[in-house]
């Protein structure tokens, strides 16, 4: 029985189709999902998501989010999902730099929302960068 995987971001549906397995970057560590998995809802942290789709392993760098797993499907909701080709090291580094500068300038006691958001950007960008540079 195949496993249906949906990866959705606020901008678009990244992937939807049958897969053999999925590896998710859960907050407590990587989770491997095979068909007939028990119902599971997990928070995701920025990291690498892998899935085996018709014999080929695909990898994506994803941001934080959630995944809902049932015996036949996996729904991944995340704020971003990028393939290796879509990650531009310079842009990502610039984004990290910008977020860090902004983080230094906002008042941490007053603007907790902004701080959390910027920390999110840094974590997400760093994960994308690590993914792009792996094996180098």
């Amino acid at each position: 029985m195949p496993l249906l995987l949906d990866i959705v971001t606020p901008e678009k549906k990244i992937f939807s189709g049958p897969v053999e397995n999925v590896y998710l970057p859960g907050v407590d560590g990587e989770l491997g999902i095979l068909p007939s998995h028990i119902g599971l809802v997990t928070a995701l942290q920025p990291g690498v998501l892998r899935y085996l789709h018709s014999g080929v392993t695909e990898t994506l760098a994803i941001g934080s989010g959630f995944a809902e797993v049932t015996d036949t499907k996996v729904v991944v909701l995340t704020d971003s999902a990028l393939g290796e080709a879509e990650i531009d090291e310079d842009t990502v580094e610039a984004a990290i730099q910008r977020a860090k500068e902004k983080l230094a300038s906002v008042d941490h006691s007053l603007d907790a929302e902004e701080v959390a958001y910027l920390q999110g950007v840094i974590a997400k960008s760093t994960a994308a960068l690590l993914f792009k540079r792996r094996g180098q």
């Binding site: 949906d6 959705v8 971001t9 606020p10 901008e11 678009k12 549906k13 859960g26 907050v27 407590d28 989770l31 028990i38 119902g39 599971l40 809802v41 997990t42 928070a43 959630f66 809902e68 049932t70 729904v75 909701l77 929302e113 958001y117």
Partner: protein, 297 residues
């Protein structure tokens, strides 16, 4: 009957109006495309988020999280997404009518968009906050709004928070909607979210018949709820604003197109009348000349 010069003046003024409405139509059309794309792209995510909440509904009771708690009271807060500018057809008046029908008479308002703010003031309703968001709406700007209404709910100032906006159906159709945002109805969610009804009501319906499952939560249920519920509120506000913006630009485009067409029709009619009058005058003159000539003979 109007004289020639009056008609000429009117043609000129109508031409000017047509030029302006045509320019506004083109601007609205460009913005409309972008706004529609954003609204449609966001629906999938909003829908999936709702689905996840819906499928884990039976793993929680109202006590699991303060945002789920249903209260006895009747104090209502309505977040209204209207437009900043006018000339966009009937969408603001339709929204106001829907609000009158669907919310309690003493509800307080939080507004996004200038139009409903002035309406609420005229109606003498209580306005507790007003937010301004850019166009197209960035996600970051909706967070303070979501935070504000969540805080009002958590502080116990209100027992129910609704959101009123214009749901985008297609370029020619937009529907005003009022939906309950808080408390989040984890169990027995009977009303469909507006964009579900539009974009994917079918799939939620299908989901509804699924057997209730028990879920395992990572790291634990409380943590998952703590993260997913505020995200849901945030995202719902964001999607509502995106929908409202798509509706606004579509409505304006259509309204301006109609105005341009009317102006063109009017110019045509006026030109016809102008030519008739001109021809009449020439004929009259010729007649006078020939009569004079005949008289001289």
């Amino acid at each position: 009957m109007a004289n020639l010069r009056d008609i000429r003046r009117r043609i000129k003024s109508v031409k000017n109006t047509a030029q302006i409405t045509r320019a506004m139509q083109l601007v609205a059309a460009a913005k409309m495309k972008k706004a529609q794309d954003q609204a449609l792209a966001g629906r999938e995510y909003a829908l999936r988020l709702t689905e996840v909440l819906f499928s884990i509904r039976n793993n929680f009771s109202q006590e699991s999280h303060p945002l789920l708690e249903r209260r006895e009271g009747n104090r209502e807060l309505v977040l209204v997404i209207s437009t900043d500018k006018g000339l966009c057809g009937p969408i603001n008046t339709n929204l106001a009518r829907k609000i009158r029908l669907m919310t309690s008479a003493d509800a307080d308002f939080v507004t996004v968009g200038r139009k409903f703010r002035t309406m609420a003031e005229k109606m003498g309703r209580n306005l507790i906050a007003d937010f301004t968001v850019k166009d197209p709406v960035p996600f970051a700007q909706t967070r303070p709004i979501a935070k504000f209404i969540t805080q009002q709910f958590l502080d116990g100032n209100y027992d129910k928070v609704s959101i009123a906006f214009t749901s985008f159906i297609n370029t020619l159709r937009q529907e005003p909607e009022v939906v309950t945002l808080l408390p989040i109805e984890g169990k027995d969610k009977s009303e469909t979210r507006a964009f579900e009804a539009v974009g994917g009501g079918f799939s939620v319906e299908a989901h509804r018949n699924d057997p209730v499952r028990d879920y395992v939560f990572e790291p634990n249920p409380a943590e998952v709820l703590k993260a997913i519920l505020p995200l849901y509120v945030n995202y719902e506000v964001f999607q509502a604003i995106s929908e409202a913006r798509a509706s606004e630009h579509s409505a304006r485009m259509v309204a301006m197109k109609a105005a341009t067409d009317n102006a063109k029709k009017f110019i045509k009619e006026l030109t016809l009348e102008y030519n008739k009058l001109r021809q009449g005058a020439i004929t009259a003159e010729l007649l006078e000349i020939t009569t004079a000539m005949k008289a001289m003979e």
